[in-house]
């Protein structure tokens, strides 16, 4: 069973890589399945997200190869259903289709979390589901409103539609979308589901949630909402959203510094990183958007790597509380090495993909507003504090855990692939930025 999942996800990854090599980034490819409300198209941004999705699913199957969860038929089936939904979100060309696929991803992740997570009481899970559903319903109102007002539903027609005549209604419609995205990303006051869900979820579920599901919201913001509502509505929402993002950056980092549980630390770290990307996207500047895409890819790499490391510790020692951990580096040197590499990638040291992305995002914020730029910069310093603490406490110090099985081949393979990708995109970010540049031209002023 586990081999089937791995091979199938590898096949989809290889197929998407082959198809991208025949793809001319200046083009749109359209598919029509005959269903009126759901049509598909691919542009270069869509391709990046599709490859990212397929890669994430492959890595999730590979990294959990020796975990029990992969042995369940239910998990494999739900994971592929979720992959289907995600690919739909990234390639669909109608606004209603976007909503349909967006919601479709919720059912499988909910079942994965429920069946394989350690949710002693279902409260946390309900919170996750209902938060998301609440945001989605707001988005549904906006989708219906947008379709009623413009009488259009495809992406290109909506871009061409003139929304300046509807005035304040545009602000409300965009607010509905932003609420859904703010829950999913998550932005500062809507984040309370995140840490609890990540901590209780099975490690594969956490990887899927943080590495690819949250990217749906950023993708929606970048491709759909900002270009369509360009004008009064984006001007209205720009600074509120950026403020929330900045609060999230600092708040997430501060909580991460104080927390004792590795998974919670990484969850808040994720809140902090995604705040920076959101703030950058709201500036609507084409170069910033390109580097935001680089940062989206980078965050997926970091999320898989870090949560995998936390999962390895949890699976072998049954705890992720850093007070109970120590001296693992002596017992498991290979794990210590690869965990260190991933820590540095997430610290965005130069020559990794995180550096180039964060640098340009912070620079863009600086250009617009200096004080906000300074606040955004703190992510680098605070990030160093919590990441080094999260690395140092379990790895060094007095040995509290004598028995620790060192890495297996599949885990080394995942770490190596992630590091290679991070360094490659760090040295040559142009391969992403140039590729997506064409489809991002529409998204700016």
């Amino acid at each position: 069973m586990r081999l089937i999942g791995l091979i199938a996800s590898a096949c989809s990854l290889v197929a998407s890589i082959i198809s991208v090599s025949f793809f001319n980034p200046t083009e749109h490819v359209l598919f029509d399945l005959g269903v009126q409300l759901v049509r598909f198209s691919m542009d270069s941004l869509g391709y990046i997200m599709v490859i990212l999705t397929n890669a994430v699913f492959f890595l999730v199957f590979l990294s959990n190869y020796y975990n029990q969860i992969i042995g369940h038929r239910r998990f494999t089936a739900l994971a592929f259903l979720m992959q289907f939904g995600l690919l739909g979100v990234f390639t669909v060309n109608t606004i209603l289709g976007f909503y349909l696929f967006w919601e479709l991803t919720l059912i499988p992740i909910f079942m994965i979390l429920y069946w394989f997570g350690s949710f002693e009481n279902s409260r946390v899970l309900m919170k996750f589901f209902l938060y998301t559903l609440f945001g989605s319903l707001a988005m549904l109102v906006s989708v219906i409103g947008l379709m009623q007002i413009t009488h259009q539903q495809t992406y290109d027609a909506l871009l061409a539609a003139d929304l300046s005549t509807i005035g304040n209604a545009g602000i409300w419609l965009m607010g509905g979308f932003l609420l859904a995205f703010a829950v999913k990303i998550p932005l500062f006051p809507f984040h309370t589901w995140q840490a609890q869900t990540y901590t209780k979820a099975p490690i594969a579920g956490t990887m899927l949630l943080s590495a690819i599901m949250l990217k749906m919201a950023l993708f929606g913001l970048l491709k759909w909402v900002l270009p369509i509502f360009d004008g009064i509505a984006t001007d209205f929402w720009r600074w509120p959203i950026i403020t929330l993002s900045l609060i999230g950056i600092i708040y997430g980092a501060v909580i991460a510094i104080r927390h004792q549980n590795l998974k919670t630390i990484f969850a808040y770290a994720s809140l902090s990183h995604l705040g920076l990307i959101t703030a950058g996207l709201m500036l609507q500047n084409s170069q910033t958007n390109e580097f935001a895409v680089v940062q989206i890819v980078n965050h997926s790499i970091v999320a898989i790597g870090l949560f995998m490391a936390a999962g390895i510790i949890e699976q072998r020692l049954k705890t992720t509380n850093i007070n109970e951990l120590g001296g693992i580096a002596k017992v498991a040197p290979r794990f210590a090495f690869w965990f260190a590499v991933l820590t540095f990638i997430s610290l965005s040291v130069p020559f990794t993909s995180g550096f180039i992305g964060e640098f340009f995002l912070i620079k863009a914020i600086f250009d617009v507003h200096v004080f906000s730029g300074i606040l955004a910069c703190t992510t680098l310093v605070l990030g160093a504090i919590y990441m080094l603490r999260a690395y140092q406490a379990p790895m060094f110090g007095p040995t509290k855990n004598e028995k620790f099985l060192d890495l297996r081949w599949s885990e080394i393979a995942v770490f190596a692939l992630l590091s290679l990708a991070a360094i490659y995109f760090g040295l040559a970010p142009k391969c992403i930025t140039d590729f997506v540049a064409h489809s991002l031209i529409q998204t700016t002023h």
Binding site: L37, L100, L106, L125
Partner: protein
């Protein structure tokens, strides 16, 4: 008309066969009658009543009658296990259901108000009997008496409303009433009070707030098999009657009653879902969920030109029937939600049907329930935006309720017991699940 005749004849036939206590033969006759009735409706395309000539009037198309027949068929299949245990009365059950279906078909065809009333009575009286048919059970007797008294009361109010309207307009024919009202008879208090009374009668039938009190008690007292029929067909017939009378005949006074309808919608949805949250009896939970869904159905009145109710009522029926079948499996005639714990692990088909049905009721795409809700909201949003937003918030609470039930059913038990389901229920579960899944192609 053909459908009604066919149903009536097969109902009579069923009574005679029932005397010889042949369960399978009774089932075949009932199913055959329903299928023939649906075919008759299909080949007739639409019923050409006098109203069909009227330019702006939308006659009830044949597919509504086909839906009614189809849902009844599923309800009979799902309840067959229960009916066949009672060999003495097997013919009575099926015949009563078929007679009641005749009334439902009469109700959904727009013609004149007397026909509505007769249809309503033909629909209701067999159900009063069916609810009370469990002679040993005190709950069942209580439910039957309650339903009968409140139901007759509502019928009387409806009749009174029809009489007042007759006084104002001088006709029972819907088309004449409509044209008379268009001349401005609306200022007449007779017409206003008459239409309010008619509204009260219909709202009672679909069980929306403030005429919902009979719902939970009656649903709890009825057996699972009867409930399958009662909670779906009566609602479909009732909502089509409301849409035909209010959305068409009274459409000139739209601004007068739409506020009232909005209040009914919001109250029903909030009351239904919030009360459903704390129930620990399954049939009461279904009753409150159906109150809330009745509120949602009323959203179809918001847009008189285009009332997209069909998808929603079919999605609601295809989600409610499997739930009641599963309740039948979980606790055969008992009614406690405790027995639902871990039910999904007893049989894979139950698990799939349950997940699809509950997510469909909660309105998660790509299942039928979402498209039903979507088409309702789509046409209602420009007319009554605030009601729609409140309805969405209420349906979030509804998602809570269904999710709670789902989590209960999916909880892994310490000891797994496999349970097999009889063939007729397997067929009903499969059909409803498939219907909920393929809804995407019908929009």
């Amino acid at each position: 008309m053909d459908s009604i005749v066919i149903l009536f004849i097969s109902g009579l036939l069923g009574l005679f066969v029932g005397m010889r206590q042949q369960t399978l033969l009774s089932l075949i006759i009932a199913l055959g009658g329903i299928i023939l009735a649906a075919l008759a409706a299909f080949f007739r395309e639409a019923y050409h009543t006098p109203l069909a000539n009227y330019s702006n009037y939308i006659p009830t198309p044949a597919y509504v009658i086909i839906l009614l027949c189809f849902v009844t068929l599923l309800a009979i299949l799902g309840g067959y296990k229960r009916y066949s245990q009672d060999k003495d009365h097997i013919g009575d059950y099926f015949s009563l259901i078929l007679f009641s279906l005749c009334g439902a078909i009469m109700m959904v065809q727009p013609n004149d108000l007397m026909l509505f009333f007769i249809g309503l009575e033909i629909l209701s009286i067999p159900i009063y009997v069916l609810v009370g048919i469990e002679k040993g059970s005190a709950l069942s007797a209580e439910a039957a008496v309650k339903y009968f008294f409140t139901g007759s009361f509502a019928s009387a109010i409806l009749l009174f409303g029809i009489a007042l309207l007759y006084g104002a307009t001088g006709s029972f024919q819907l088309i004449e009433i409509q044209s008379n009202l268009a001349f401005g008879i609306w200022s007449s208090p007779l017409a206003i009070i008459g239409s309010l009374f008619i509204l009260a009668g219909f709202v009672f039938k679909i069980g929306a707030v403030p005429f919902h009190f009979w719902g939970p008690d009656v649903y709890q007292g009825a057996s699972n098999a009867v409930l399958m029929y009662m909670s779906t067909v009566v609602k479909i017939a009732g909502i089509y009657a409301i849409v035909n009378v209010f959305g068409q005949v009274f459409r000139d006074s739209y601004l007068f009653w739409i506020d009232l309808i909005s209040i009914i919608i919001v109250l029903s949805m909030f009351y239904g879902y919030i009360t459903a949250w704390k129930q620990n009896s399954f049939r009461r939970l279904i009753a409150y969920s159906s109150i809330a869904n009745a509120g949602l159905m009323l959203l179809a009145l918001a847009n008189t030109q285009n009332s997209n109710i069909f998808l929603f009522v079919s999605a609601y029926s295809f989600a409610t029937i499997p739930l009641i079948i599963i309740n039948n499996v979980a606790n055969s005639d008992d009614d406690d939600l405790k027995n639902w714990e871990g039910i999904a692990w007893k049989n894979p088909l139950i698990a799939i049907a349950l997940v699809v049905a509950l997510f469909s009721l909660a309105g998660i795409p790509p299942l039928a329930g979402f498209f039903g809700k979507f088409s309702l909201l789509w046409s209602a949003l420009p007319q009554i935006p605030y009601t729609v937003i409140l309805a969405l918030i209420a349906s979030l609470i509804g998602a809570f309720v269904y999710l709670k039930l789902l989590l209960l059913a999916l909880k892994k038990p310490s000891v797994q017991v496999k349970q097999s389901i009889p063939l007729d229920q397997i067929i009903a579960l499969l059909i409803t699940t498939m219907a909920s899944l393929v809804a995407l192609y019908f929009i």
